[in-house]
Symmetry: C2
Subunit: 163 residues, 2 copies
C-alpha cells in the first residue's frame, strides 16, 4: 500500500475542519493563518527530529551558506514530505528564493479551473508554514508565501529575514 | 530524512487543535468523536486508493473470509500507516477481533504514567476511525474501540457488525 496518500488525506481533513471552525468575517484569513502555524510547528518538529537522527548517526549536516539551506529544503526536505524534489530554484542573491514545484501534490485534490483558484491559499498555507518552521529550526528567519499560476504547478517565495 | 515523523507531528497538531475547539460540557467526547470521524474518512480514502492502485497493476486483493480482511489490516494496512505490523491478533471466532500493538507509534509522544492515561482516548480515536473506515470500504461494517494497558502498548477491539 502506498503511504504518501496518508499525508494527503490527513492534510485535506485538516483543511476541511479548520475551514469549518474558523468562520466569521475574516474567515479565509484566519483559516489560512491557523493552517500556516500548524505547518510551522510540524516543520520545526521534522528538523528537530532530523538533527537528532543526524547526531545519532554522526552524519551531521553542514551548511556553508544560505543557498545551502535552500538546497537542503528543495532536495532532502521536499523529498521527505512530498516524495519529489522541487523542480526549479531561483534566487536574486539578495535573500529572495523562488521554489517551483510543477506538480504540487497537495493541489492535486483541487480541481483545475479558475473558479477554484480562490481556494488555493488554503491548500498552500500548511506548506508555507512547513518551510518557515524548517528554516526557523535551522536558524534562518523567513517569510514564506505561495502562489499558483496553472494548477497543479505552484511557486513558494522565501524571503530571508536578515538578523 | 525520516518521513514517518510527518504523520506523527500532523496527528499531534490535529489533536491539539480539535481539543482546543471542541470545548464545552462533553468536551472530551466531542473531541474524540471528531477525531474518529476524521480517521474514518482517511481510512476510506486509503482503501479506495489501494483498490484503484490494485486495479491498475491487476494485482487485485482477494479476501476469502472475515479473518482475511483482518489479516490485511494487521499486516499491509498497519505497515503502510505505522511502519510495523500488529504484534498480536486474537479472535473469539464470533466476530470480535483484538489487535495488539506493543509499541503504538501515536502514543510515543504521550508520557507514560497513570496520570496521562486519561488523555489516551484522544490519541487512539483517529486510529479507531482509520480501521473502521478501511473495513467499511472493504464492505465490512464494524465498531472499533481501543484501550491502553501499559504505554505505549495498546489494544484495538474490532466488533464486526453482521448485516
Amino acid at each position: 500500500m502506498a503511504d504518501e496518500a496518508l499525508f494527503q488525506f490527513l492534510h485535506s481533513e485538516i483543511i476541511q475542519y479548520v475551514n469549518s471552525v474558523e468562520s466569521g468575517e475574516s474567515e479565509n484569513g484566519r483559516c489560512v493563518s491557523k493552517l500556516e502555524s500548524m505547518g510551522f510547528r510540524v516543520g520545526q518538529g521534522l528538523i528537530e527530529r532530523h538533527i537528532s537522527d543526524c547526531r545519532f548517526t554522526k552524519d551531521t549536516p553542514r551548511f556553508k551558506d544560505e543557498l545551502d539551506f535552500m538546497k537542503f529544503i528543495c532536495k532532502d526536505f521536499w523529498t521527505s514530505v512530498f516524495k519529489k524534489q522541487i523542480d526549479n530554484l531561483r534566487t536574486n542573491h539578495q535573500g529572495i528564493y523562488v521554489l517551483q514545484d510543477n506538480k504540487f501534490r497537495l493541489l492535486s485534490q483541487l480541481s483545475s479551473g479558475k473558479q477554484y483558484l480562490e481556494h488555493a491559499p488554503k491548500f498552500l498555507a500548511f506548506t508555507c508554514g512547513l518551510v518557515r518552521g524548517a528554516l526557523s529550526n535551522l536558524g534562518v528567519k523567513s517569510i514564506v508565501t505561495a502562489e499558483v499560476s496553472v494548477m497543479p504547478a505552484c511557486k513558494f517565495q522565501v524571503m530571508i529575514q536578515k538578523m
